[in-house]
C-alpha cells in the first residue's frame, strides 16, 4: 500500500516539486519558531533564585574626579547605610555593582581552576546581599568581614559554575584563580536568573567589595506595608547624604517587566508573522489538494467502480499527502539537523531536537487537517457519474 503511494507520488514528482518546496520552507520557519519557544520556555520554568518584590534599586552618579579620597568614600557609604537603615520601612540594604538584577549591564571575567578556564558573570556585592535578595545557598555560606582578613579573598560562586568545576564534590574551601589572584570559595548560591524570566542560567561569581571602593548602586528591601510616600522619603535620605549626585530610584519588579518585554515583544511579533505564514500555507495546501481531487475524478471513479470504499478513498488522499509531506520533512530535517550537529548559535542540542520533533508533528497535523475535507469530497464521488464524464 505504502509502496503504491510512493510510486504514485514519485511519478508526479515534477508536479509536486513546488508543493514540496513550500512544505520544506514552512518546516524551516516552524523549526525556527519552535526552537525559540522551547528555549525560552525551558528558561522560564527554572526558578528565579531571588526575590524582586519590594526591592528598590537606587543608582547614583557624581561629578567625575571629585571625591577620589578613599577614606571619605568609606565614611560617606557608612553614613548612607546608617541613614537608610534607620528608616522604619527599610529591612536591609546592600551595595552592588552596576550589573545588578534586571539591569542592561553585564561584566564578564575569566576564572580558572586547575588550568581549565571559564567565562563568568562577575558581580561585586557586600555582605548583606543575601538578606536583601533572599538568595538560597546550595552549600556553604555568604562571605563576611572575617573572610576578608584571610590570605585569599573570599568568593561565592553559583551552582552552574560549581557543576562545571566541581561536578561531584563540595566546592567550599577550594581556591580559584580569578582576576587579581587566588580566591577561596565560601559558598555556592542557587543561580540567580537576574536577566529576566526568559534568560538562560549562566556561570557567575560574587566578589566581596573592598571597603574603600566606590559602588554606584544600592539595593534596598522594604516592608510591603510601606506607604506611598516611602519612595520620596528614601530619595530625600539619599540626596541628603549624597549631595550633588544624580539619583535614580527604580523598582526591581518594574525593571523585571521591562527586561522580560525585551524578550517577549520580538517573540510575539515573530509568532504573529509565523502564524500568518502558517495560515497562508495551510490555505494554499488545502486549495491545491482540493483542486487535485477534482482533476482526478476519473481515476477516483474508476477506483470506486473496482470496489474501493469511500473511506478507503478518503484514506488514500490523506495518506498520499502524508507521504508527500514526509518527502519534504526528510529534506527539511537534513537542514535543521545541521544546527545541533555544528553547534550553531550555542544552544543546547536538546532544544533543537525538541523543536524538530514539534515541527514534524505540527506539519503532519496541519497536513491531515488540510487533506481531510478534499478526502471527504473524493469519497463522495459516484463512480457512474465520474466515469460517464470521461
Amino acid at each position: 500500500m505504502l509502496k503504491h503511494l510512493f510510486t504514485l507520488i514519485w511519478n508526479k514528482k515534477k508536479q509536486h516539486a513546488l508543493l514540496i518546496l513550500e512544505m520544506i520552507v514552512s518546516f524551516l520557519v516552524l523549526f525556527a519558531v519552535f526552537t525559540l519557544i522551547v528555549y525560552y520556555y525551558t528558561n522560564y520554568r527554572r526558578p528565579m533564585g531571588f526575590r524582586y518584590d519590594n526591592v528598590l534599586s537606587v543608582s547614583y552618579s557624581s561629578q567625575p574626579g571629585s571625591g577620589s579620597n578613599r577614606d571619605s568614600i568609606y565614611n560617606v557609604f557608612q553614613t548612607l547605610r546608617r541613614s537608610v537603615k534607620s528608616m522604619p520601612e527599610v529591612i536591609e540594604m546592600s551595595y552592588v555593582s552596576s550589573n545588578s538584577p534586571f539591569s542592561m549591564n553585564t561584566s564578564n571575567n575569566g576564572v580558572s581552576y586547575k588550568g581549565v578556564s571559564e567565562m563568568t558573570n562577575y558581580y561585586t556585592t557586600d555582605d548583606h546581599f543575601p538578606e536583601v535578595m533572599e538568595v538560597k545557598m546550595v552549600e556553604g555560606r555568604w562571605f563576611n568581614a572575617n573572610d576578608a582578613l584571610g590570605k585569599e579573598q573570599p568568593l561565592v560562586i553559583n551552582d552552574v559554575l560549581k557543576e562545571k568545576f566541581f561536578p561531584n564534590e563540595s566546592a567550599v574551601g577550594k581556591t580559584l584563580e580569578f582576576g587579581d589572584g587566588m580566591h577561596r570559595i565560601t559558598g555556592v548560591v542557587q543561580t540567580l536568573k537576574d536577566k529576566g524570566d526568559y534568560a538562560p542560567l549562566k556561570p557567575g561569581t560574587y566578589k566581596r567589595v573592598r571597603d574603600s571602593s566606590f559602588m554606584g548602586r544600592v539595593l534596598v528591601s522594604y516592608n510591603p506595608a510601606a506607604d506611598a510616600g516611602f519612595e520620596s522619603r528614601l530619595f530625600i535620605t539619599f540626596s541628603g547624604v549624597l549631595k550633588n549626585y544624580t539619583i535614580e530610584i527604580e523598582r526591581l519588579a518594574e525593571k523585571r517587566v521591562i527586561m522580560n518585554n525585551t524578550t517577549l515583544v520580538p517573540m510575539i511579533a515573530l509568532l504573529v508573522v509565523g502564524g500568518f505564514l502558517i495560515v497562508n500555507v495551510a490555505l494554499g495546501i488545502f486549495g491545491v489538494l482540493w483542486y487535485n481531487v477534482s482533476r482526478r475524478r476519473a481515476e477516483i471513479g474508476l477506483r470506486r467502480a473496482m470496489g474501493a470504499t469511500g473511506g478507503g478513498i478518503a484514506g488514500q488522499i490523506v495518506s498520499e499527502t502524508l507521504v508527500l509531506s514526509t518527502f519534504a520533512l526528510i529534506i527539511g530535517i537534513f537542514f535543521a539537523a545541521q544546527f545541533p550537529l555544528l553547534n550553531l548559535f550555542d544552544m543546547p542540542s536538546g532544544v533543537y531536537i525538541a523543536a524538530i520533533l514539534l515541527s514534524v508533528l505540527f506539519i503532519y497535523v496541519l497536513v491531515i487537517i488540510c487533506a481531510f475535507y478534499p478526502g471527504r469530497q473524493a469519497a463522495q464521488i459516484y463512480p457512474a457519474v465520474a466515469l460517464h464524464e470521461d
Binding site: S61, S62, T246, V279, G284, I285, V288, N292
Partner: protein, 412 residues
C-alpha cells in the same frame, strides 16, 4: 486589449471564490506586514521632527582608544572637551551642535515618581535642529556661559509636572533637588530619536563633568551640519584629518579611531560595524535576506494556487491556441491577470495597514511614536506588489504555454 484582460481577470476571480480568497489573503497580509515594518523603519531612519535635515548632517558619537601593547581598549562617546576644542573649530560644517546623551533623574510630585531625562546642550543645538516651541524660547549663549539654571522642557513634562496650566515660562521646576527656571516648552520628541530625545534640555555648563578633565572619552556627541548634502564628504574628510593629528598619549594607547557618519551609519557602526566598515551594507544585506525569505512562502503558495487555477482553464487555453493565439500572448495575458490580482490584494493591504497603524497610533504603545504611510512607503509596497505578481505569475504562465492543444482539448 487591457480592458479585455481586466474583464477576464475579474470573471476568473468570481468563479472560484475560495481560491480568490486564499490569494488575496496571502498578498494583502504579506503587504500589510511589510508596509507596517517600512513605516516603522522610515520613522527611525528618515528625517523627522526635530531632526529635519538629516541629509546634510553628520554625527560623531563614538571614539575608540586602543593600545595593543597594553591590551587596552576603551570605546565610548567623545568628551565635551574634545568636541569643543577640535570639532567646534572645523571649517567645512556650517554649524556644529554639541549635546549629551540623555540621562534619567527623579523627582517626586505628591509622592508620585516622575522620571525626567535630562540632556545637556550648547546654543547651536537649537539652530541645527528645528524644535517647535509651544511657548518661550531656547536659552542663549550668554545664559550658558553664566551657567544659569534655565531649562527647556518637553510638552510631556509640562503636562506631568505642571498639569493643565497654559503657560509655565518663567516658573520653576525641581528635579534632583535642583531648581531650574523654565525658559521654553517644546513639542515632545519620541525616545526612538536618540540624538534629540529628552524631557529637559539644559545648558552644558550645568552638566556633571570635571572642567579640568582633558580626556577624550565622555558622554557627549556632535551633529555637524553642512550647507547641503554635497558638503558631507569634505566634512568627513576634515574630521578624519583631525583624528589623525590628535596628540596620542602613548603611555596608555597607541591608536585613536572615530568617524563622522551619516545618521544610520552612526548606529550601524556601533552595533554591527567597525572602524573601517560602517556596517550599513551588511545591515541592508541582512534585511534583504530576511525579507526575501519572508516573501518566499507567500510567493510559493501563490505559485501553487495559480498553477492549479490555470490548469483548470486548460480547455479555454486550448481553444484559444487552436484558433491561433501564440504562447507568448497567452503567457502575457496570464501575467497581466495575475498582476491585476496582486494589485487588488495590494489595495486591500493598504487599507489593512491604515487600520493597523491607526490602532498603533491610538494605543500609545511607544510615547510620541506616530507611524504614517507616506508616498515612500506606498511606492516600496507597490514595487513589492509588482515583484510578487511577476514572481508568482511567470512559472504558471510558462507551464501553461507548454500545454499541448490536442491533449488539453481531449480532456473535455
Amino acid at each position: 486589449m487591457l480592458k479585455n484582460y481586466f474583464k477576464i481577470a475579474i470573471a476568473v476571480l468570481k468563479r472560484r471564490k475560495f481560491f480568490t480568497f486564499i490569494s488575496l489573503f496571502g498578498i494583502s497580509f504579506s503587504l500589510t506586514i511589510i508596509m507596517v515594518l517600512t513605516a516603522f523603519s522610515d520613522h527611525l531612519v528618515d528625517s523627522s521632527y526635530p531632526d529635519a535635515h538629516r541629509s546634510r548632517n553628520l554625527y560623531i558619537s563614538m571614539m575608540r582608544l586602543t593600545g595593543e601593547k597594553h591590551g587596552f581598549s576603551q570605546n565610548g562617546p567623545p568628551s565635551f572637551y574634545f568636541l569643543d576644542h577640535y570639532v567646534k573649530k572645523m571649517k567645512t560644517p556650517e554649524k556644529v551642535a554639541i549635546t549629551s546623551f540623555h540621562q534619567p533623574t527623579n523627582t517626586y510630585i505628591n509622592n508620585k515618581k516622575l522620571t525626567i531625562d535630562q540632556k545637556f546642550t550648547d546654543d547651536t543645538f537649537w539652530e541645527v535642529l528645528d524644535f517647535e516651541f509651544l511657548e518661550g524660547k531656547p536659552y542663549t549663549r550668554q545664559q550658558i556661559d553664566n551657567a544659569e539654571r534655565v531649562a527647556v522642557i518637553s510638552e510631556n513634562v509640562r503636562r506631568k509636572y505642571f498639569g493643565d496650566e497654559p503657560s509655565v515660562t518663567g516658573r520653576y521646576i525641581e528635579t534632583d533637588n535642583i531648581r531650574y527656571r523654565v525658559s521654553g516648552v517644546v513639542k515632545s520628541v519620541p525616545i526612538t530619536q536618540f540624538a534629540t530625545y529628552g524631557d529637559m534640555y539644559l545648558p552644558h555648563t550645568l552638566g556633571k563633568r570635571d572642567p579640568q578633565d582633558k580626556g577624550l572619552n565622555g558622554d557627549y556627541f556632535a551633529i555637524l551640519q553642512g550647507k547641503d548634502a554635497s558638503s558631507l564628504p569634505a566634512m568627513a574628510a576634515e574630521y578624519d584629518d583631525i583624528i589623525r593629528r590628535l596628540p596620542i598619549d602613548t603611555s596608555r594607547y597607541d591608536k585613536i579611531s572615530s568617524r563622522a557618519d551619516k545618521y544610520v551609519a552612526s548606529y550601524t557602526r556601533l552595533f554591527i560595524g567597525n572602524q573601517d566598515d560602517s556596517g550599513l551594507n551588511r545591515l541592508l544585506l541582512y534585511v534583504g535576506l530576511v525579507l526575501l525569505f519572508f516573501l518566499l512562502l507567500p510567493t510559493l503558495n501563490l505559485v501553487n494556487i495559480n498553477t492549479s487555477r490555470i490548469m483548470e482553464r486548460s480547455s479555454e487555453i486550448a481553444v484559444r491556441k487552436a484558433f491561433g493565439a501564440s504562447s507568448g500572448t497567452l503567457a502575457l495575458q496570464f501575467i497581466v491577470e495575475n498582476l491585476i490580482l496582486t494589485v487588488i490584494g495590494g489595495l486591500i493591504g493598504v487599507v489593512l495597514s491604515f487600520i493597523v497603524l491607526a490602532i498603533w497610533n491610538n494605543s500609545g504603545a511607544l510615547e510620541d511614536v506616530y507611524l504614517y504611510l507616506n508616498y515612500k512607503v506606498l511606492i516600496i509596497s507597490l514595487l513589492v506588489c509588482l515583484v510578487f505578481g511577476l514572481m508568482s505569475g511567470v512559472y504558471p504562465a510558462w507551464r501553461m504555454s507548454r500545454l499541448h492543444v490536442v491533449t488539453a482539448l481531449k480532456t473535455y
